[in-house]
Each structure stands twice: as structure tokens, then as C-alpha cells.
Amino acid sequence: MRRYRTAVLGASMLALLISACSAGGSSTSPSASEAARPAVTVGSEGFDESQLLAEIYAQALEAHGYTVARQDFASRKLALPAFDNGDINLLPEYIGSLLRELGSMPGGNALGPATGDTDETMTNLAAALEPKDQSVLDAAPAQDGDGFVVRQETADQLSLVTMSDLAEVADQLTWGLPLECSDNPSCGPGLKEVYGIDIATLRVENLTACSGEMATALNEGDDQSGIGVAELCTTQADIERFNFVLLQDDKKLIPAQNVAPVVRNDLLDAAPDDFETILNGVSAKLTTDELTKLNVQVSVNQESIEDVAAQWLADQGLVT
């Protein structure tokens, strides 16, 4: 009887000890993927699509345990200094215009050009970012570049299909251009060099590029009022919605414009390997068609950016 009691006592104490050990084990030894995930602050550049991309990358990271803050800036010119000084450490960008922007800064003459070829532009961009301790991750197939857009009637009246066609009648129309156009290599200087369109000689109304007001001003315009040509973005929902005609960039003013996240090296180094994998996984699924569809959901269906991002990530199987 006594021996039996001792055995039961011993067995139950042993069981207790074993369960205590294993329970303590799983809470005191973190697995490698839970180790110190650095804080991420993702930036965006004011317009809806930029905020949408930031939200998509942010939510993908959050689904894998990262803490992500968002910070929006009114334009690239304001976001880049913040990226340089570490206020933000992740920034979804467009490889062509980013490279051109870096090239237009002091000392940028030595940088390779942004061309119509994605790989070449990526190489040149990576080289441009390296001295700043920044990197560009994989490019998404999706491209969104500046585009010059006219109403269907205007295109019919003036037989406009390409930018070269537009150059011939440039002074007959009022142009909607952003204030930074005169400084932007993909806008003012580029239009002059590639197509011979000198914006200083044209009738120009200054509105934010790729914005709702720009699209409205074009849509509500006619021969006497509003604008005749607008600078919109090629994945903008309004082009479809208002049946605009996007003029073909026949002389390749606009370079390869793939979406790609740029990241500070200090974040890249501090983060575990899954950081790059997660972001590259998102980029791989982002095509131009997908991006345009998402824009329509935000602009036309008036759905919130957070909801659209969450739904898309779930549909693509990126948050399981």
C-alpha cells in the first residue's frame, strides 16, 4: 500500500515536472522568426496609389508579426529627405522616376540612365542607392508612369494617337501640368528634349498630377474652358472611367516604371530573412492590371485603402 502510494506520488510529481518544463520551454525560448523584428515606418507620396502600395506592403509585414507605422508625404520631394534621414525606412517607389529624380540631384550626372528596359534601370537604380546605404528590392511587374491624356473627342478631332501627334498641335490645347513639371525630368525638360514641346510657351493650368481635380478639369473641359491635355498616371482609374485616350509614348520619354520597394540598409540588416521574402512575394503578384483594378476600387467604388489592400492580400494568399 505504502509503495503504491509512493509510486503514484512520484509519477504525478514527475508528470507535473515534465509539463512545467515544456510549458516553460515554449514561453522562454523564442523561435528565430520572433527574434527582434525592427520597427518599420513605411512612407508614401500623397497620391492614392502610393498610399495603397504602402498599405499593401505594410499589411503584408504586419501579418507576419512586424510593427509597421505609416507616414504620408505630399510628394516625392518631401518623402526622399525623410527616407535619407531615417524618419521612414521603407518606401514603395517607381524605379524609372526615382532614378531620374536621383540623377537630377547634385552629383547625379554620374548615375546610369533610366531606360525603357526594366533590368537596366534596376541595375542603375541599385548602383545609385548603394552609396546612400539604401537598396531596392525586387521589381513588381506592375508599371505606372506619367501619361498624357486627352478626351476621346479631342483625339478624334485632331487625330491623336501618339505623343508625337500631340507635339504638332501642342499650342492648340490648354495643358494641365503639376507645379513641379518645370523641374521634373520626366515632364518639362523631357517633353522639350524628346518631343520638342516647350511648356513655357503653352497655356498651362497648374494642378496636381494624377489627381481627381486634374481628371475633372479634363473631363469637364471643352474647347473654351477646362483643359485639353492632362498629365495623369497610366494606371489611374479615371482614364477608364471617363473614356480618356492615353497617348502612346512613341519616343520613350517615360522610362520603365515598375513598382519596387526601396529600403534602408540598416533596416534590411536588422531584419530577419523573411522581411525580403515577404515584400518580394507581394511584388511578384502585383501586375499592371491588378494595380489598375485596385485603383478603380479606391477611386470609383470609393472603398477605403485599408480595406482594398486587405482584400487583395487575402485574395492573393499573401497573409496566411
Binding site: A74, S75, K77, P178, L179, E180, S182, D183, A200, V204, E205, N206, L207, E213, T216, A217, E220, G221, D222, Q224, S225, G226
Partner: protein, 236 residues
């Protein structure tokens, strides 16, 4: 070059003085916006202020409605009117900005006009009635001359607010001094931002001085307002 030097050379640059985006063009646009907005505000607000100030009735409702013009952000009014203005072929940035500015000019004029008439000594009004004056005569010969100081203070407040806020029109491509501020921000040209802000501030100050001088000339010496009249006087 040091910053003040940059600003000075910005002003001195010839491109600032010729062409479609020169200082004269935007200054003129700014003055046109401000002038017409103040005029529009006066046409709407003065009759209302006089009516409620003279009769003393309907003041609460009128002033509450007037203050809507202050409560709704001007930029929201801009955004709402913009597509309508385009559709009606009313031009690009001028009309929506004008409407937003008129909305801003109305509250101080209504409130100060009301206060001005209410503060006229009741004895004077009674004396006038006793002399057989009609309501219109009372207004013209007693109430307005006595209350003109505070009334002009309201117009002055409205004028300064309108001149300062007209720069908002640059957001929708209206010709105004705000262009330089926005262009400076877009191109990260600090000297230009500062120059634009300087011009707007300078114009606002000038407006304040001008209306102040007008007040001193128009108000009868016997009625010199002893304390500073301003928005705080309108207790509504």
C-alpha cells in the same frame, strides 16, 4: 549665398517680372480675387447685418448662419465648387476661390454690423423717433453714423482675412500670390516659398493699414472708439 541674399536675388530675377507666372500677374489676380470677394461679402452681409442690428430680431439665426462661412474650411468649398464652375464654363480657379472667400468675408461683417447698430445709445434712437424720423432716416442719420466705427472694423477684419486666404486659389490654378508658395514647395525652393509668404503677409498688412486709415478718416471725432474694436467685440 546666404538665405536673405537668395530671397533678394529671387525678387531681382527678370523672370519674376514678365510672363504668365510673373509677380505682376499673380499680384493682380490676388487683388482681383480679394476685391471682388470683399464686394460680394459686403453686398450680402451688410443688408443682413443692418436688418438684424436695426430691428434687433433674428440675430441668433442670422449670425449662426453667417458663421457657417467660417466653420466650413475654405479648401472644402474650393473642392465642391471646382467641378461645378468648370461645368458652367465659369473659368478655372477664379470662381471657386471667389465663392470660398465671400463665404469667409460674410461672418465678420454681419457680426460687427449687428454689434455696431446695437451699441448705439438707445436714447439717441428714441430721440430720433420722437422727432418723427422714419426707420430709414433713423438708420441713415443716427444709427449708421454713430456705429460706423465698429462697422468699419468688421469690414477691415473681413478684408484682411480675404487677402490672406486668397492664396488658397493657387491649389486650383487661380492667379494669386499663393502660386509662389506652392511652386516653391513643389520644387523645394525655399527662397521662393519665403518670397511668396512675404508678399502675402505684406499685402495683408497693407490692407490692415489702409482700412485703419479709412476708419480714422470716416469716424466722427466725437465718436473715436476708445478701445480697440475687433472680432472680440462681436459677442455672438
Amino acid at each position: 549665398m546666404d538665405f536673405p541674399g537668395e530671397v533678394v536675388s529671387w525678387f531681382a530675377a527678370p523672370e519674376q517680372w514678365s510672363g504668365g507666372n510673373s509677380i505682376p500677374v499673380h499680384l493682380l489676380g490676388h487683388l482681383a480675387l480679394s476685391g471682388f470677394a470683399l464686394l460680394g461679402g459686403l453686398l450680402i452681409a451688410l443688408p443682413i447685418g443692418i436688418a438684424i442690428g436695426h430691428t434687433g430680431r433674428g440675430a441668433f439665426l442670422a449670425i449662426a448662419m453667417a458663421n457657417v462661412g467660417r466653420a466650413i474650411p475654405s479648401i472644402a468649398i474650393l473642392g465642391i465648387v471646382f467641378p461645378i464652375s468648370l461645368r458652367l464654363h465659369l473659368g478655372f480657379g477664379f470662381v471657386p476661390t471667389l465663392i470660398a472667400l465671400i463665404a469667409l468675408a460674410i461672418p465678420p461683417i454681419v457680426t460687427n454690423t449687428y454689434a455696431a447698430l446695437r451699441e448705439v445709445d438707445r436714447d439717441l434712437v428714441e430721440a430720433g423717433r420722437g422727432m418723427g424720423m422714419s426707420e430709414v432716416q433713423l438708420l441713415a442719420r443716427v444709427e449708421l453714423p454713430v456705429g460706423v466705427g465698429l462697422l468699419l472694423a468688421g469690414i477691415r477684419t473681413a478684408a484682411v482675412q480675404v487677402v490672406a486666404t486668397a492664396s488658397l486659389g493657387a491649389v486650383i490654378s487661380a492667379d494669386c500670390l499663393g502660386y509662389f508658395v506652392l511652386k516653391g514647395i513643389a520644387t523645394q525652393d525655399r527662397a521662393q516659398i519665403f518670397a511668396g509668404a512675404l508678399m502675402i503677409a505684406g499685402l495683408s498688412l497693407l490692407t490692415e493699414r489702409l482700412f485703419g486709415a479709412l476708419q480714422r478718416r470716416v469716424v466722427s471725432p466725437g465718436l473715436r472708439v476708445t478701445r480697440a474694436a475687433g472680432p472680440s467685440d462681436a459677442s455672438a
